[in-house]
């Protein structure tokens, strides 16, 4: 056995390839079931309908509150979506394999992309319903704010998702952490969609993305340790 090499010698796949493989698998699982991601959309729909009933028939009030309402529903829906990161993997005993095969930074990126996709579908569904039921408006700046704001939310949520899997008390902490961490996206995302001058709000979202991304990058590997 002298000079023998350990294991099958194959080249480690690149970051983008690994992210694509992981995202494709998670998307198939999410779209194929009725729990998890699919359960979030009826919740958002119910939230928009109930908000319409609570706010009354005044079209101006409905139109004004619609963007903020959608962002609030997205952030609330983010709590169950955090299970997509690690808790569902751990419950089904696939988390150890991912930790063994995928470097922490790539795992963070892949899971953040999955969450960004889930959050984007949630925001789009909420916005569509707000347009149909609350007479809300869709603006280019509002859409750009969603694209940008959800990056920071997804990065933060990936860290909270790993925390949820690592700590028995994580579930209780999660709701208390997600909403404050998403506050910049809630405020700037809402204002960018309605303000005459959206650029300062979009710049704030870029800054939020940078801070959330850098913090998640620094913290995530430590959350994988036992």
């Amino acid at each position: 056995m002298s000079g023998r090499r350990a294991g099958l010698q194959v080249r480690r796949p690149g970051t983008l390839r690994t992210v694509a493989v992981l995202v494709r698998r998670d998307a198939r699982i999410a779209l194929g079931g009725v729990d998890g991601f699919a359960s979030v959309l009826p919740f958002v729909a119910a939230g928009v309908v109930l908000a319409g009933l609570v706010l009354g028939p005044d079209p101006a009030a409905l139109r004004t509150t619609a963007p903020g309402l959608v962002w609030l529903l997205v952030l609330t829906a983010a709590v169950p979506l955090a299970r997509l990161v690690a808790a569902a993997e751990r419950d089904e005993d696939s988390w150890d394999m991912l930790r063994g095969l995928v470097p922490p930074g790539v795992l963070l990126l892949a899971k953040a992309v999955v969450l960004w996709g889930a959050l984007a579908v949630t925001w789009s569904t909420g916005t569509l319903l707000a347009v149909l039921l609350l007479d809300g408006a869709v603006t280019v700046a509002g859409c750009a704010a969603a694209v940008l704001g959800l990056v920071g939310v997804a990065a933060s949520l990936t860290v909270f998702g790993a925390l949820l899997a690592a700590s028995a008390r994580g579930a209780g902490l999660l709701a208390a952490l997600v909403l404050p961490a998403g506050l910049p996206a809630l405020l700037a995302g809402t204002q960018a969609g309605v303000a005459d001058e959206p650029w300062p709000w979009l710049a704030l979202l870029v800054a939020y993305d940078l801070v959330a991304g850098a913090t998640s990058w620094a913290v995530f590997p430590f959350l994988l340790e036992e």
């Binding site: 194959v10 796949p13 992981l22 699982i29 569902a88 089904e92 696939s94 063994g100």
Partner: protein, 213 residues
């Protein structure tokens, strides 16, 4: 300190140097030194709570030892029976997914070959793994280990849920992995008995090695 060095002077696939693990004041694993050469097989026995899983998870890099150091010459994989797949994945997709993450050039082809080698009937390959029996899920786990073939594989209680034919599949998988140069740690209360000849044998009791062979 207990030391085992199957493989002699070869560069090790796995090297644990005085690794120990404590949770608070409780010692889960006493200091242990272990070097496994590429292709070496080590059976880890002991009763429940003896520290087998902790040793394997340290070897795979999932648990940080309280003291001591660990080095691996590549990737390490820790697998329990039924692990390594999502319940909604089809068996062949789960194995191909692991192969793709490991960088196998044709993961679907490798997955089919691995599942066939592990004795999972072909009509079950497109079944969701959550609908398979525990023994069938273990065969999918073995196929994952085969298709990835990393530097080190840690199989925790792989004989669980398996009939005689399934245990033969475990032995064949361990032999195939060792033949490709993968160092294999196999844990179970009677791992050495079920596994047959191994390059090293550890028996743990209350976190310490009691038998070394």
């Amino acid at each position: 300190m207990t030391e085992s060095s199957p493989g002699g002077a070869e560069p090790p696939a796995l090297s644990l140097h005085e690794v120990a693990c404590r949770y608070g004041s409780r010692t889960v694993l006493a200091p242990l030194t272990l070097r496994l050469a590429p292709g070496a097989v080590c059976a880890v026995g002991g009763a429940n709570g003896a520290g087998k899983t902790t040793l394997l998870r340290i070897a795979a890099g999932l648990v940080e030892p309280t003291s001591g150091s660990r080095s691996v010459s590549g990737r390490a994989l820790y697998l329990r029976p039924g692990a390594g797949m999502r319940r909604r994945q089809r068996a062949v997709e789960a194995v191909a997914f692991a192969g793709a993450l490991a960088g196998r050039p044709e993961p679907a082809v490798s997955a089919a070959a691995a599942l066939a080698s592990c004795g999972l009937p072909e009509e079950l390959w497109r079944q969701e793994t959550g609908r398979l029996s525990a023994g069938q899920q273990t065969r999918v786990t073995l196929a994952v280990a085969r298709v990835v073939s990393p530097a080190v594989v840690c199989l925790d209680e792989p004989m669980e849920h398996l009939d005689a034919e399934g245990r033969a599949a475990v032995r064949a998988t361990v032999a195939a992995l060792a033949g490709r140069g993968t160092a294999v740690l196999v844990a179970g209360p009677e791992a050495a008995h079920h596994l047959g000849p191994a390059d090293a044998r550890l028996e743990l009791a209350a976190g310490a090695v009691t038998v070394l062979g």
